[in-house]
Every structure is written in structure tokens, then in C-alpha cells.
Symmetry: C2
Subunit: 196 residues, 2 copies
Amino acid sequence: MSGGYLKGRIRREDIISAAATLYGEAGYHGSSLREIAKRVGISHAGLLYYFPTKEALLAAVLVRRDAEDSEREQLNVPPGLEVLRHFVALAGHNVRHPGIVDLYSRLAAEAVAPDHPAHSYFERHYEQARESVVESFRVLSASGELREGADPEYAALTFIALMDGLQVQWLTAPDRVDLVGSLRFYLQNLLTVPLG
Amino acid sequence: MSGGYLKGRIRREDIISAAATLYGEAGYHGSSLREIAKRVGISHAGLLYYFPTKEALLAAVLVRRDAEDSEREQLNVPPGLEVLRHFVALAGHNVRHPGIVDLYSRLAAEAVAPDHPAHSYFERHYEQARESVVESFRVLSASGELREGADPEYAALTFIALMDGLQVQWLTAPDRVDLVGSLRFYLQNLLTVPLG
């Protein structure tokens, strides 16, 4: 790894950190690339070299968030009940961080358009989320811990969709929506053993 | 009802119709109040009298969409299995109308902010959706058609959330998400009788 490459990597990470902080303070729409550049101590043009658009930077913030989520909540443990418990813990973490959930929900809705800069991020994000959950449901199905006749593919797809849909409904009316309780309800109804 | 009042009502409905049509053609972000005014044959200022902002007009389009959905899919039949079947039929209708689903999803995500012009619309929308479904789950619970131990409140909340979350995932990757099949999977897993 050359010094120049390493320096570039560090600066890129610095920009992503500054962006994540500013999004939390001022919201995505209240954040400008100029302000982010200022905080990192580089020029606006310098920042554009790394992230040509606001959306590209936002996508990078989300990619890093996925990596951090996966690490913190140990989403990569061997497939099974434990993975589902970790996803529920992730939902609990999200409830304590509404700013990033808000950002994610808005961007997911905007990025359904194939020409949106974050579209391919969300395609991959959903694909990976489904894959990481479907394996767990397959394992549970094989061991009889998933209700008979419950298809692991549908279980995974609906679980991920439920997390997303609950977040928007919870952000709209936090007092009316028990996000973690709803996920537990859903999972428990699919399982023949206690979720724990 | 005075003639002036009636005239106002008709013009308001005309504006909403023109807006819904233009959103379908050009998307919400590609639509301007000026273009909508032009299509209705009134001045821009005249339109602002009825709808002071783009968002206010959008909210009116959505309110009318709810009323039309409810009428077309007979969501107001007596609570029970039939209501759930009608919601699944509504999802089928939505799959054939991705433009309005896209619009709805984006606005739902934007409108989580309490100061957003469509915020109170979505609060009411979710509240009404939950209420119309929870009654059905209560009836099914009383007749033993809902799985033992499944709480009707959670069932309603998760059903509405699932519809929303599936829509965004489906819009992102239409080939990977069977929206109607996923809803049926979810409901069938909650019921002790065939959904039909």
C-alpha cells in the first residue's frame, strides 16, 4: 500500500465521519458538501474529488453504517436463532438513534429510481439482508424450529420488509409503535421455540 | 350549499385530478404547481388559493387515493377474513400502479418530520389503517381463526408495516419481491384457516 493510497483512504474515512456527524446535527437536507469540507479542513473541490455528489457521500455513510451494524450486532454469527436475536438487538439500537433511521428511510424511498445514485447500494443492501436472514430460517426449518410449512425465503423477505415498514410508522408516531416488540411478535409467530 | 361553495368544491377536485395525472406522467418532483394550474385552466395564484404548497396538494391527492382505495376494494366490509382479503387485493392493485406507490413511499418517509405538511395526514392514515385491520384480527381471534396467543394489536401493526416495507423493497427490485405472495404468506402464518 503506497503512502498516497493510505492517505486517500484516511481522508475518505474522515469525510464520511464528518458527514455522518453533520447529518445527525442538521439532517441530510440541512447538510452541504461545503460545510463537510470545511469540517475536514479540505477545499470544496478537494471533497468533490472523493464524492462528486451529496448522494454519493450519503451512500458511503450508509455502507459504513451497514459495516458497523454488522460488527456491533454480530450479524455474521453462524446462521440460526442467534442471528435473528441480533437483528432484534439492531432494531433496539436503531430506536436509540432515530436520526440515522430517518435518513435511511428517506433515502430508501428516493432510491427506488434506477438512476438514483444510491439505487445500487439499496439493491445490494436488500439482497445481503435477505441472504443473511434466509440462511438462518433454513437452519431453523431443518431443525423443526420454524413452523411447518413456513417458507424460509418468504420469511426472510417479510422480516426485512417489516423492519423497514415499522421504522417509518414508528418515526411518524413513536408513542404508538413498539418497534422491537413488533419484531419479536412477528418472529415468535414464525417459530416453534421461544425466541428468548 | 351555495353556488360559490359548490364551484369551489368542483375546482378543488379538478386540481386534485390534474395533479394526480401529472404525478403519474412526470413524477411528483417533475411536477410544478404552474403546470397543474395551466391544465386546470386557472392562474398560478388561483391554484395557491386552494393549495398553498406542493405538499398540501400532494396530501390532498393521497387523501383522495385512500377514499378511492377504500371504495374500490371495499375495505369497509364487516371486520373479519374478508377485510384481510380486500387488503391483499389492494396490494395487487398497487402492483399494477407503481407510480402512486412510489409517490406514497417517498412522502411517508419525508413526512415523519412533525413540521412536514403531510405529517398529520400520515398520522391519521396509519391510525385508520391499524384500526380497520385490528377489528378484523379481534373478530378472528374470538372465533379461533387467529393463532392462539397472537395479539390482534401487534398483528394489525405489523401487517400495515409489512405492506409499506414490501412496497419499497419491491420498487427497488421488482423481480426479486413477490409483494402479494409475501402478504399472503404473512397472513396465512397468523391464521388457523385458509386465507382463501
